[in-house]
Amino acid sequence: MGGLPTNRTVNGLAVDPENSNVMLVPMRDGLFQSMDSGQSWKRVGNELKNLAAVIINPKKPTAMYLSTLDGTIYVSIDAGMKWKKQQ
């Protein structure tokens, strides 16, 4: 259970429009995903850190965008498992 760093700032929250139990949270410590509406979390997105915001495409929920605090954009097409810097 658990999985989010405690007493740390949660900068954003994205919810899967087709399954509200699926959530993503960007933090300075990385990107965290929950499949049970926030009861438990696991870290995804490999080494990404200093994250500000994330959004899930409402028309295609496996497609997502992520921004670091300084505005570098990353894209995922596999529901957040792998992220590629937008060129």
């Binding site: 989010l4 760093p5 929250l13 409402p58 954009i73 894209v75």
Partner: protein
Amino acid sequence: MKNKLKPISIFVGLVWLVNAGIIFAEPVRDLLMAANQNTSNKSPVTFEHVHSLALDSAGQTLFLGAHTGLFRSDDRGRSWNKVSLSTKHAHLDVMDVTTDPREPKTIYIATHEAGVFKSTDGGRTWKEASSGLGGPDVHGLAIDPNMPFKLHAAVREKGDGIYRTTDNGGKWIRVDDGPQGEVKVLRSVNISTGMGGIFLYAGTSTGLQRSPDCF
């Protein structure tokens, strides 16, 4: 009696935090340095500090809220253009952006200095939508996914608390003291509370908290 937003008590993640710091410290630093250099070389756009990302409900246009304003991208985040918001305010720090789940051209933003703004033409023109808010510093904005005419806003400092509108931002009413800590993001999540209403989630400086929105 007002309900306080309650922390989700099961968020215990110290092991994740320690592991992340030790294992990934060096690669992350290199990655971020490279990203900073690439960003500054590619585009004159300066965000300074990003607060929020949003997509229109058609999944086509990205909006980014930052310390230096609101930006839009029509090429999946490759390039950004600053959006003109208000002639009355030279600088607007855009704290949160939310889009109507049914109307692709309807966008709301929360600002640090001037409350809430709304666009119904895809971001071309904006109108203030702050009537009833107790203060100008709005840090979170959540639209109800089932009833998009209903939104909640988190106000800090003057008039702090959670405000609700049920007429698309026409009039706001204070409904709750709000969560502990500084709100960074506010989202209405389509999970039934069992008491009527759905849950309102708040990302804050002290973690993720949620409360039924039927307060």
